[in-house]
């Protein structure tokens, strides 16, 4: 046992990806996200079935699976956009139980939506400063400075004073990412961030997400972009019918899927 532990440590030094694996083993450090026995029903429909998932600090998880498999529901439970019916969610050591714990968790977790959900009545800059000013009490000057920093990071500082409708889909999604980053979250959730985009705009958004992944941000990405998953993920999670069917490194997952369902799914989406 100690030998195995040492081996892990040595590997960690050499491989950035393995860093996540040591966190996941029984160290005392708290994980970024711990989900235990999560269940969720929509009336009689069992959307999540006893889902367990642990995400270490700095780990990048890609969740995939057929539509209706519960991927979005799962990550929406993490910041309580959906209430779960049973099970435990702990985010960065805070256990989700009441309104104040939800508030604390939302303060650590950023989210990017499929439909961008920018505020159309505000300018790009106002979209970015609203949260820091109202929720964090920053002054306008500080909030705008921070906003410009993240707009530069997503490479569209020149759009700051435009209205949302003046931007392309890809630009809007990058603004949405910057808006989340302005809250300086420890964890980012992406709910199919490129599914509503025209094909030519997908890569500009994925580049931003990859850049974020390389900076060590903990993230869960729900996506069908398998090229991105290979490039950025530490671990793949495959879901079907509300349950996690298979998890593994991208290499294991793509090259040697263990379950039949997973193989079928991969065949279908990688066919073309």
């Amino acid at each position: 046992m100690p030998v195995a532990g040492l081996a892990t440590v040595v590997r960690t030094i050499h491989s950035g990806k393995a860093r996540s694996m040591i966190d996941q083993s029984e160290t005392n450090r708290t994980n970024a996200i711990e989900i235990k026995g999560l269940n969720k029903w929509y009336d009689t429909y069992h959307a999540l079935k006893d889902v367990d998932l642990t995400v270490a600090h700095g780990e990048r998880i890609v969740v995939c699976g057929p539509s209706g498999s519960g991927k979005s529901t799962l990550i929406r439970c993490v910041n309580s956009l959906e209430a779960h019916d049973s099970g435990q969610i702990t985010v960065d050591g805070t256990r989700m139980c009441d309104a104040s714990s939800i508030e604390a968790i939302r303060g650590q977790v950023g989210m990017v939506f499929q439909q961008f959900n920018l505020f159309p009545h505000l300018t790009i800059l106002q979209n970015l400063t609203l949260g820091p000013m109202k929720a964090r009490g920053l002054s306008r000057k500080d909030a705008e400075e921070r906003a410009m920093k993240y707009l530069e990071r997503v490479q569209i500082p020149e759009q700051a004073n435009k209205k949302v409708s003046a931007l392309s889909g890809g630009q809007q999604q990058r603004v949405a990412i910057a808006r989340s980053l302005c809250m300086e979250p420890k964890i980012m959730l992406f709910d199919e961030p490129t599914s509503a985009l025209d094909p030519e705009m997908i890569s500009e958004v994925l580049d931003v997400i990859v850049d974020l992944a390389e900076s060590g941000m903990t993230m869960i990405v729900v996506t069908h972009e398998m090229g991105f998953a290979r490039r950025a993920a530490d671990r793949m999670v495959f879901m079907d019918h509300g349950a996690i069917v298979e998890t593994g490194t991208p290499e294991e997952f793509f090259d040697a899927p263990k379950t039949e369902r997973c193989r079928t799914f991969l065949n279908q989406i990688l066919k073309h």
Binding site: N79, Q115, F119, A135, S180
Partner: protein
């Protein structure tokens, strides 16, 4: 259409026909008594406008306070709002006016509160409450038309419920709420005529009183209708201007 035209021409013909059917002298500004009558009628404008504006403002505030809990995901928070809307919407204005004016002081007195509700405040309370059920529904549909993604995005950047409403939802909803709300204001202006029956000295009451002394209902009520028409046209004009201004704001 043909029928209406026929009716209109008949009315007009009746005027030119046998002498004594029309007596415009009663509101002829060239004579002293006619002028006095006109100023007597026009003096009702102030009360009608005051009554309508105060009732509309209260109705808009009460309506919002009813609408917001009415959209809660918790059915027990939602329930009182639903009951309020269904109940208030079902009461005709005139019986409610009588109840508030004659009945409410008695109820309050039995609770140990002695207040005199005068005609003005009786009418304001009635119009405001009666209208608030409708404004609440207007707010609800306007707010619910703002996509859920907006409130979700607001939650993820840490805004509270109040902040979400104030900075994200209401600024977007107001453009959809404004036209039906203006419609409702026009409705209040017209319904304020009912206040005449409890003695409120507004446009309709004054017309009634003049009819009793002058025996010229046709001319006086015609002028009364024109008074409301002018009032409503001015409001409509103002609302169109406001809508254009906000519409231009959005497309910029």
């Amino acid at each position: 259409m043909k029928n209406i035209l026929a009716l209109l021409s008949l009315t007009a013909l009746a005027g030119c026909g046998s002498a004594g059917n029309w007596g415009w002298y009663v509101i002829d500004p060239r004579t002293q008594s006619g002028w006095n009558n006109i100023t007597f009628l026009f003096d009702g404008f102030g009360a009608t406008i005051q009554l309508s504006v105060i009732a509309a403002v209260i109705s808009m505030i009460v309506g919002l306070m009813v609408a917001l809990p009415g959209m809660s995901t918790n059915r027990w928070i939602r329930l009182p709002s639903r009951i309020y809307v269904e109940f208030v919407r079902a009461i005709p204005l005139l019986p409610m006016l009588f109840w508030v004016f004659y009945g409410l002081p008695v109820v309050l007195k039995s609770m140990g509160i002695t207040v005199r509700i005068d005609a003005f405040w009786g009418a304001v309370i009635t119009l405001a409450i009666s209208d608030s059920a409708f404004t609440a529904e207007i707010y609800r549909s306007g707010i619910q038309s703002i996509a859920r993604g907006q409130t979700e995005a607001a939650k993820t950047i840490g805004l509270t419920y109040t902040q979400t409403m104030r900075y994200v939802v209401l600024p977007q909803a107001i453009r959809r709420i404004l036209p039906p709300l203006a419609n409702q204001f026009i409705y209040i202006v017209k319904m304020s005529a009912f206040a005449s029956v409890i003695g409120m000295q507004e446009l309709t009451r004054r017309a009634n009183e003049l009819v009793v002394t002058e025996y010229r209902p046709l001319e006086i009520y015609t002028l009364l209708i024109l008074e409301y028409l002018v009032l409503v046209l001015i409001i409509s004009f103002f609302v169109r201007w406001l809508e254009r201004k906000m519409g231009a704001d959005e497309s910029r």
